[in-house]
Symmetry: C2
Subunit: 271 residues, 2 copies
């Protein structure tokens, strides 16, 4: 569990809002790791060792573990146990279902695995989101406006007064608080990000889409920053994990994470 | 894998469109089963033995397995292996993410586990749904209008021309075919179900909400039936699984499943 003030303290100490996405793909990790007993964990361990000085959060993408069956869940648990305790942990699972089922998903990620937070899909409405709220120091991170091309299909659906994603944000403000609910806002749509920050001035945003997906770091900081607190977790996955395909992958990941952290720190100093 | 014609043949043979939801909850299953080595599988095995004569499909609710950690996934695999081969299998997982991640989820449910289908959440749009399509005899079952109270929050969001869920249906018709895409339509909204059938005359609907959630079986058949093919999979979970809390649970489940099948057969004969 991690409270808002603990998260903020870490952001201030590390001068970083970097979240490292842990999407380990057996087809993409350096092939010498396939000789390890648990290649996924060996890869994650090296990445965590190389980046934790610069990152405030880690976000395992559950699909990449689940697809491996039981061994994937074992690798996930070892990874989670290995992440330094000061770092915020996100189960990127995009869950959401009727109330009794969402309650089971909350149990899975908050207690069976001890994540600080889980990403949630809002399509099914209040009773699909509420079961993730109300646990001390645990967070629901709900999809608002996502970074992918398909976001155009429904999230921009317009009532004349507002887009669907804006309706989602307005509802979320009534369901959760700034201490138990964050929102996913893609980095690939910076002008929308600014309008979303106006609409939700105090909530943390999880921002994917910097790096492989093409979003710009400075734009995100300019549009989404909350003074004194940060209010952002900016995720990079592939650009760090796969910075090199060779045996120097951890060193390359460290360089990439450090570059991102230094850019964040430089931006903070310039404010 | 199961093609549309194989599914239709089974519906015709069993005179049933019953899908049994497998949501095994350790707090609700008969307590004498807790002495078994694998209580979840022992429960599911008894339910499958008791109901497969009357059911054309089984729908494990993944949350209930996932919440138990590795042992839950082991119980799921044993359950899936035990379901008779003529029955259609649905991973009720409500997955959906950016393209590379949805592809991983498709791999999980279609190949790591060999489900015929998986439920998919459309909020993230085309690139979150498309990776589930295009596998022979495998199906995406995408949320349209759900049965829960929270469906009101966003699915009825209205552009003036149509509701969000209608926009979703229109898009889905362009993305998938009647042979690889089904839609979730809740039983609790029968007049909407009739309008959805007009909008999508040939697609199969997975219909939750009969039983514990209060939907009416005859309404669903009247509004959703496709002549000659059925075109429906009507799910019941709790009303069958927990028909009795005692040692006679399997017998009680069998009675409940038979009652539903007989009501379906009577309705078919009356057409």
């Amino acid at each position: 569990m991690m409270t808002r003030s603990e998260l903020v303290r870490q952001i201030q100490a590390k001068k970083s809002v970097l979240c490292v996405g842990l999407d380990p793909d057996l087809a993409k990790i350096p092939q010498h790791l396939l000789l390890e007993e648990d290649p996924i964990f060996a890869f994650n361990k090296a990445i965590i060792d190389a980046t934790h000085e610069f990152a405030v959060a880690y976000k395992p993408n559950i699909a990449f573990y689940e697809s491996l069956g039981v061994s994937g869940w074992t690798s996930l648990r070892k990874t989670l146990d290995y992440i330094p305790k000061e770092c915020f942990t996100i189960a990127d699972a995009k869950r959401g279902d009727i109330g009794n089922t969402s309650a089971m998903y909350a149990r899975t990620f908050f207690f069976t695995y001890e994540f600080d937070s889980v990403t949630v899909n809002p399509y099914m409405g209040s009773d699909s989101v509420m079961p993730f709220l109300g646990f001390d120091g645990k967070w629901a991170i709900v999809l608002g406006l996502t970074s992918n091309p398909g976001a155009e299909d429904f999230q921009y659906f317009n009532s004349g007064e507002m887009h669907l994603y804006e309706r989602v944000l307005d509802k979320l403000k009534g369901w959760g608080t700034e201490d138990n609910l964050m929102v996913v806002v893609g980095a690939t749509r910076p002008t929308d990000l600014a309008r979303i920050r106006e609409r939700m001035p105090r909530h943390f945003f999880l921002v994917p889409g910097v790096g492989a997906q093409g979003g710009n770091l400075e734009d995100v900081l300019n549009m989404g920053w909350i003074e004194g607190e940060g209010g952002l977790l900016i995720n990079a996955s592939r650009s760090i994990l796969y910075a090199s395909e060779g045996k120097d992958f951890a060193l390359a990941a460290r360089e990439e994470a450090r570059n991102v952290q230094e850019a964040m720190e430089a931006w903070m100093r310039a404010q």
